[in-house]
């Protein structure tokens, strides 16, 4: 089931544009960004050190190659009409941002196949600007010559105020701790691959369902549905191609390893490492490395346990004890199960979930949210249902928004304390493009609001009271000339006023709150 089906449905249901009428309780400076790929990646970074975040977006030109376009945020909350253009050389595979040099503002960190470099956006070109930070064979060795890829490999892992680098290599990760002045020291190397398993054993043996519906001149209309259950030895023995045999690809390579995740997993306050690799008997294996105060990350896992790792898995603090717990969401269609495994000072009992919750709906989304700063987190759940009677009578579907309160005996209350049910049909399908979000405080009052897309394609917000009930009417709405399909509340400058990013079909609007 395509988990984006309902969003696509709403995307296609848009009607004509709306009057350009601004109606909001906050003043905003609106900047509309039009670029090559409106849905491509975007970063907000302070590159010139003026405490205001600038917009960095990728750009490709067939003649000039790849560039990074930077729209500088101005004093009045607007952004520069023309971007600064930074050439991205063909050897660069990915980019991050961090404050590495004494000069104000962040620099670019450029990841190439065999080295990591820094580059300042405040100096022209690369000569005298580019600096080698360290040599490293990156896991990915071929750059995409038309796309600029952003990555989050740079962050302060040991909380010393300096940016560190956790770099994936050919078959291992290595941690490099920043010392300031663009110096880094190695602080631990480990592999996320299960060294006890051979390449044969690591191969995925999950059944692969593949469907094709197409039109071509050889077979006319093609409908193929295939289910392959691979053997570990599939393709192990090959014959050199016979004369005239079709060779489809000049080159086909794959190199993958489990991803490292950073989280507070024990009570020492240091950021630890976790990853899931292959365990025994078709199970996954959760591995944890606890960061040492001076030695960094150890080579061997401190704790391991096998688990059923199918579905989506996330490390997040669900019981407000400061330690990351494990949340797993698995299922298909309209039958989903969420399992919560509590972190007990760095260990888990993965054979028995601490709480299991079942949801009957399509495309469930679960979030752990702290609605107010000092309150315990709640569980927000959103999904769609298709009641047959409603579908037959009105051709409509329902969207359900649930809130589960924190519970001292379980983790979350067995039943939701709040429930909002909305009906959608062709007439108001635009409201389906984005699910209601409880993650943002749109008016800066310290309380999260319920932000959503209205029937008319505008973005609005409703209050959430102390009983976790969502108000029936919005207290805030922004009406833009274009329908909104995606929204996010950001902090784009040093004031306390929330700012917003609204994504439309072909453009993006940045709203910087003004006094």
């Amino acid at each position: 089931m395509n988990r984006r089906f309902f969003s696509l449905l709403a995307l296609l249901a848009t009607t004509a544009s709306l009057p350009a009428l601004l109606s909001a309780q906050t003043n905003y400076t609106a900047f509309e960004l039009r670029r090559q790929d409106n849905w491509g990646p975007m970063r907000f970074v302070d590159l010139n050190g003026d405490q205001a975040l600038d917009i960095a977006v990728p750009h490709y030109d067939a003649v000039l190659g790849r560039e990074l376009h930077v729209y500088e945020q101005l004093d009045n909350g607007n952004f520069s009409a023309e971007p600064q253009r930074i050439e991205i050389k063909t050897e660069i595979i990915a980019i991050a941002f961090a404050d590495l040099r004494p000069e104000p503002g962040e620099e670019l960190i450029l990841f190439a196949s065999n080295g990591v470099f820094s580059l300042s956006s405040q100096l022209p070109g690369y000569t005298g600007n580019l600096k080698l930070l360290l040599q490293w064979n990156l896991l990915a060795s071929i750059p995409d010559l038309e796309q600029v890829r952003f990555t989050n490999l740079a962050r302060d892992i040991n909380d010393d105020g300096h940016v560190d680098l956790l770099l994936p290599g050919d078959d291992n990760y290595e941690l490099f701790l920043g010392q300031g002045n663009e110096d880094f020291v190695a602080a631990g190397e480990f592999t996320t691959l299960n060294a006890d398993l051979t390449p044969i054993q690591r191969r995925s043996l999950e059944a692969d369902l593949d469907a094709e519906l197409s039109i071509n001149s050889e077979r006319g209309i093609v409908i193929d549905v295939n289910v392959d259950v691979p053997s570990p030895f599939a393709g192990f023995v090959q014959s050199v191609a016979r004369e005239g045999e079709d060779q489809e690809n000049l080159l086909q390579t794959d190199q993958w390893m489990p991803t490292a995740t950073l989280a507070h997993l024990n009570a020492d306050g240091l950021t630890d490492l976790a990853y899931i690799n292959a365990g025994e008997a078709g199970l996954g294996r959760l591995n944890i490395h606890y960061q040492r105060p001076t030695q960094g990350i150890p080579a061997q896992a401190d704790w391991q346990q096998d688990l059923d790792s199918s579905g989506d898995m996330r490390l997040t603090d669900v019981n407000d004890d400061g330690l990351a717990d494990l949340m797993r969401l698995s299922g298909e269609g309209d039958d989903w199960i969420a399992r919560f495994f509590l972190n007990r000072n760095g260990t888990f009992n993965l054979s028995q979930a601490d709480q299991v919750m079942r949801f009957n709906g399509y495309e469930p989304t679960l979030d752990i949210i702290r609605l107010q700063e000092n309150n315990a987190p709640v569980l927000s759940v959103s999904y769609y249902t298709i009641p047959v009677v409603d579908a037959l009578r009105n051709a409509s579907i329902n969207r359900i928004q649930l809130i589960y309160a924190n519970d001292s005996e379980m983790i979350f209350s067995a039943r939701p304390v709040a429930r909002l049910e909305e009906s959608f049909s062709a007439d108001n399908a635009r409201a389906l493009t984005e699910q209601m979000s409880l993650r943002f405080d749109v008016d800066g009052d310290g309380r999260k609001d319920a932000l959503y897309i209205t029937d008319n394609g505008t973005v609005a917000a409703r209050r959430i009271d102390d009983e976790l009930q969502i108000a029936p009417e919005p207290f805030w709405e922004y009406i833009s000339p274009r329908s909104v399909f995606e929204f996010e509340v950001l902090s784009l400058n040093a004031d306390d006023r929330p700012d917003l990013m609204l994504r439309h079909g072909n453009t993006t609007t940045l709203l910087v709150a003004r006094p």
Binding site: P199, L209, S217, E218, G220, V237, Q238, L250, W256, A395
Partner: protein, 552 residues
């Protein structure tokens, strides 16, 4: 349509196990226990020394290992030679015709620049032969089988196709050495994930570079080069009389980026929600095919509902003035060329789909539905297509509700997940005798290898045109029901097992070792016409083990 018919796996195993073997004229085998290092990802069979026995080639770390084959078979413990690689960025291939047209050789491209060949003489590896140096290739890290050797111009000398940074360098091989390279854009596809904090997601990269599209476009007997990227379609006509096989610039080009700019960009704010399929007006196709039957490919360009035909000639394509322009209303889904009236001329098929509204999508969430697709056939008179179609074929595509489809998907996934190796015995098609009309089947059951001689029908490689619809020229209305397609899917073993489930095995080979995690692969290794058989029996952290059955 393809279906996988099953006899609920374990039932097949049970039935097969009940029947004892008949003594038929099955081949005899010599057994060779084998073990490959656990890090071995694959082995490739090729005759490197011209003795009609195929060696086995594998990559271990930064070494290419060759298990040498003799009349007596293989010695997997010490009977191998190795090519040490001096870099961790090596592309390698197996060549026949680069240095010696009779035998294969291992060819390595190191750091994208140095091309060397390694030959096997008897069981001894020769010193490397430098073929070319200072090549401009770009090779990622790793030891990668890259199919960069291909005889492009049919002169029995292998040419080079070297990957660069977003390009391919084509070196035509001649008796006097390599010609200067032709550089073309390559449609490299990469998928990269490097970000942290994505638990249960892998980090890494996959890279695919499709091979060249080569065929004789202008009927001069020489293979021409068609290069397609997202922005351009370039055709290089072979110029065999010139000093370079391909010209340095395309013989003709289609600017696909310009076509897309003309059609306009998708603006979701202006979509007509009573006709969502109207967005098909933004689609385009470029088809090279022979319309006027002169052996030279012409060019068909579809832009939305407008179809333009351009004439190809011996030296290129007349792109200035189209020979014909046809326009169709409605939502044009696709076009292609196919000889409908069997007169030897390709006719134009133009497929349209009915308008689909947002309301339709909502109804289909809970109710089954149907979509009407039509093909309009414009007959080809030898020079151009008729202005109006002379035939309309209707296809009604019926499907269950989205809810029902989701349930089907869940059911199929669950069934597939529950399969394991005990449910489906490992099996493989093989050729164990000279019978060409029927193939043989090998089935691994427990510690036995069962041989079913001449039990498998040789499948036709291609399905008939619109075969899934039962197409005929006398019928214009068809229906496809997705529910029937799904209902006929049965998860499990292949049709081959079903063909032998009531048969007795012609031979049972008792394996001398227990089979813990088994599989079979059959291919010819020695000098006879009969396949030899790899029987995998187990693997652990140090080795992959099994038995090699060499035909006698």
């Amino acid at each position: 349509m393809k279906y996988f018919f099953c006899c609920k796996g374990s039932m097949a195993a049970l039935l097969l196990s009940l029947f004892p073997a008949l003594s038929m004229a099955a081949p005899k085998f010599s057994e060779f226990p084998f073990q490959f290092p656990a890090a071995t990802e694959s082995v490739i069979a090729a005759d490197l020394n011209g003795d009609s026995h195929r060696e086995l080639i594998s990559v271990l770390g930064e070494t290419i290992r060759i298990y040498t084959a003799t009349e007596a078979g293989f010695d997997f413990e010490s009977g191998y030679v190795e090519i040490p690689l001096e870099s961790n960025a090596v592309a390698w291939d197996i060549s026949r015709g680069l240095t010696n047209a009779d035998n294969y050789a291992i060819v390595t491209l190191t750091n994208g620049s140095s091309l060397q060949a390694w030959q096997l003489q008897g069981n001894t590896l020769s010193a490397p032969i430098l073929i070319a140096d200072n090549l401009p290739g770009f090779i990622g890290r790793g030891i990668t089988r890259t199919r960069f050797l291909r005889d492009i111009n049919g002169d029995d000398l292998e040419d080079l196709v070297i990957p660069g940074a977003g390009v391919l360098y084509i070196y035509i091989n001649t008796d006097a050495g390599f010609q200067s390279p032709l550089t073309i854009q390559s449609e490299t596809r990469t998928r990269t994930q490097l970000d942290l904090d994505r638990l249960n997601v892998s980090s890494g990269q996959s890279v695919t570079i499709p091979f060249l599209e080569l065929r004789d476009v202008n009927n001069d007997g020489s293979a021409d080069l068609i290069s397609r990227t997202e922005a351009r379609l370039d055709v290089f006509l072979a110029a065999t009389a010139a000093d370079a096989y391909f010209p340095r610039v395309p013989s003709y080009s289609v600017d696909i980026a310009a076509i897309e700019a003309r059609l306009g960009e998708f603006d979701v704010d202006n979509v007509d929600f009573s006709n969502l399929t109207g967005v098909l007006a933004l689609t385009h196709e470029e088809i090279l095919d022979d319309v006027d039957n002169d052996g030279i490919e012409d060019l068909l360009i579809r832009e939305g509902g407008k179809v333009s035909l351009f004439s190809g000639n011996a030296t290129g394509m007349n792109l200035e003035t189209p020979r014909q322009v046809l326009r169709s209303g409605g939502n044009v889904l696709s076009t292609f060329l196919y000889d409908e009236n069997e007169d030897g001329l390709n006719d134009l098929w133009l497929w349209r789909v009915e308008p689909i509204s947002v309301g339709d999508l909502f109804v289909w969430l809970a109710l089954s539905g149907s979509i009407a697709i039509e093909a309009f056939v414009y007959p080809n008179d030898g020079d151009r297509f008729a202005r109006r179609p002379n035939r309309r074929i209707s296809v009604e595509l019926r499907f269950p509700s989205v809810m029902r489809l989701a349930n089907y998907y869940e059911s199929i996934s669950t069934q597939a997940d529950q399969l394991d190796s005990d449910s489906v015995p490992p099996h493989s098609i093989a050729r164990l005798d000279s019978e060409n009309d029927r193939q043989d089947l090998l089935v691994l059951l427990g510690d036995q290898l069962r041989v079913f001689m001449n039990s498998i029908e040789v499948e036709a490689e291609e399905e008939a045109f619109l075969g899934s619809l039962g197409y005929s020229r006398e019928r214009d209305d068809y229906r496809i029901n997705i529910r029937d397609v799904i209902d006929n899917i049965q998860i499990g073993s292949s049709p081959q097992l079903r063909q032998v489930e009531d048969q007795q095995a012609d031979q049972i080979i008792e394996l001398d070792v227990p089979v813990n995690r088994g599989d079979i692969a059959a291919l010819p290794l020695n000098a006879d016409e009969v396949d030899d058989i790899f029987v995998f029996t187990d693997y652990d952290t140090s080795q992959i083990r099994g038995l090699l059955l060499l035909s006698q």
